[in-house]
Symmetry: C2
Subunit: 378 residues, 2 copies
């Protein structure tokens, strides 16, 4: 089980400084949670992920169910032992894949390159590759086309075998362009599933409920009130947020205001550097985001002077580190010129160097935000 201790609350916003205690150590909050979808922070080893100041990782129930399967992970002693990561782990429930492998795929929306769509998703409509019913979701495996059924019970059972410190309830993440009636129906289902997840849990692992409600403020409130009333150990705030960040920050505050103050809140799948202050002000304690690692694998460095596309030849002669103000081991040892050379020479090493730096940079930003809350500046 987990314990959450609030050390300081902001007087100017919903921000709070805290400590999340788990069976695998503590997390200083607010914190970015590193993404390790398939039990690996892409391109890094677990020891390296630690050195980037990553405190907690989130892994993917759906993907790990397909490969290598939760039984195998359990045989290896659970996720922590399997990947030699002795710090806290979260597993999401597979609910996001209901969107990403469903309507998200149909409409060409991805987690990274956000697109809006004018196509409205109406009540009763089904995505091409999966079928959503009141019992759960019938997926089609992208590996071998095999049908996979995931409902609240199945998700919890898989997550218990995986052995994370914190699990998430199985939900439906509705598409951002869903019509009100679609979201109302989906939300009712997600709420039923939330209770089923609580009932299905047999382990001592923590379980977070997920607040949904699409882009409708009243439905978000309704969901926060309902999910908040259930005996979860913490709360996730889900949904494909789209591109309207101002709306998201407002929604976050509105949602967290309705949730029990003493329980931790996790924002699912968001966290560009420029969004961090807004997320923190919205009362979020942890959030996960693929941005630092994904962009690294595309040659992009996040720095104190903005994003740098390191594939550009202009950096070849540059002897400075990625970010002269960064204290990470990559910035200590390697120049922009060398990293650009390696990227242009199609080597693997620069993807690692950029992943390491970006994660370190993101975690450093969060460290700074924690200091600001402590000083009462946020």
């Amino acid at each position: 089980m987990i314990q959450f201790k609030i050390l300081k609350k902001s007087k100017k916003s919903s921000a709070r400084l805290g400590i999340l205690k788990t069976p695998h150590g503590e997390v200083e909050t607010p914190a970015l949670v590193g993404v390790a979808t398939q039990a690996s922070v892409k391109t890094l080893t677990s020891e390296e992920a630690q050195r980037t100041k990553t405190q907690m990782l989130i892994m993917n129930t759906f993907h790990l169910h397909l490969k290598p399967g939760e039984k195998l992970v359990k045989k290896h002693g659970g996720l922590h032992k399997f990947m030699n990561w002795n710090r806290p782990i979260m597993t999401d429930s597979g609910g996001f894949q209901v969107f990403s492998l469903g309507f998200g795929k149909d409409l060409g929306m991805s987690k990274i390159l956000r697109k809006t769509s004018n196509t409205s998703i109406e009540k009763g409509q089904q995505p091409k590759l999966l079928k959503i019913t009141d019992e759960g979701v019938l997926f089609t495996s992208y590996i071998d086309g095999r049908k996979i059924f995931l409902g609240p019970k199945e998700s919890i059972k898989i997550q218990e075998a995986l052995g994370a410190d914190i699990m998430f309830a199985f939900d439906e993440c509705p598409p951002p362009n869903a019509a009100r009636e679609y979201v109302e129906h989906s939300l009712a289902r997600t709420h039923v599933w939330a209770r089923m997840c609580l009932k299905a849990r047999k382990s001592k692992q923590a379980l977070y409920g997920i607040v949904q409600g699409g882009s409708f403020e009243d439905l978000r409130r309704k969901s926060a009130e309902y999910i908040g009333s259930l005996p979860f150990d913490g709360f996730g705030i889900g949904g494909e947020m789209g591109v309207d960040k101002a709306w998201m920050f407002k929604m976050l505050k509105g949602t967290t205001d309705l949730l029990s103050e003493g329980k931790p809140r996790h924002l699912l799948g968001n966290g560009y550097p420029e969004d961090m202050p807004g997320i923190v002000r919205g009362g979020i304690d942890t959030f996960d985001c693929v941005v630092p690692t994904h962009h690294a694998r595309h040659g992009v460095a996040f720095t104190s002077v903005g994003r740098l596309d390191m594939k550009k030849t202009k950096f070849l002669g540059d002897k400075k580190p990625l970010d002269p103000r960064c204290e990470c081991e990559v910035c200590e040892h390697y120049s922009r010129g060398y990293i650009t050379h390696l990227l242009r020479a199609k080597e693997v090493t620069p993807l690692r160097l950029l992943t390491f730096h970006n994660l370190f940079y993101f975690h450093s930003l969060m460290e700074a935000l924690r200091k600001e809350i402590k000083k009462g500046k946020i």
Copy 2:
């Protein structure tokens, strides 16, 4: 400049134990030299390469000339600073590319999957993509089709700008299926180029001459005597050796017997674990080989129980490390099962884990061979 000190000579073979002193530290010989073609040990950082017990790296003059260009490397302070590698570096001359981008390409022969060919290469014959003349070789860039001329002067000039501790003379590496007349003609040219390289050198970097001679024993002897008579700081033994290892070991002994005992000898591009004792007995002090790193990127681990194809599902449930007798950090932290999962999930991290382990394993074998020479057992 370099200094070479022989600590012990075997009474049973041509093997010797030595110390090669360079401006960037010492190499205990006999030693495997790690391959860092484009100024990067593929998938690793320079600090990691050090932790694999790699003492010296060899980089490629031709590839670095194309990308990022020797002027840029020089601007960064030379190869050592550019890649943050403070140990010794060798640069080969581009002579092997005369084969690999020439007849080697035409005949589908690669450095790894050795194939023999029944097509004989006759005197006067030219490969498709390059033109070999007495002055040098006209290459066609694989990047943009631009023509690149490399002769002895050009190669030395590039290598001096790159700044390695040890350079190699520009030579022609003839194809293994070359007719005697072809090799005679090629060898005469390589010998002329050797003198030109010595004359072209302006720096204090060490320069090794390269012994060629194809598969003809008398030509190999002739080359050893001629190259051995020139004031080189050490000697390379080149040539695409093909699959006949017994022939290679015999040739090595015959060649090194003719070379000045006090100078170091480097075997170019050979070194499977099973070949190491024969190479060492043949009087070789250093050799480079892509096998540990190349095979790693194809999912193969070298272990004390042989080569393991880690892509196989049978390893998924295996909790043992890659090699239970290995002391490397990968074997300390990760199981075969985890590495197999990551390979099957198409992650990048396992390629690194295997590269690290394989290099450490190869260097450990060489460490053991050095001990055997010391004990007089080889």
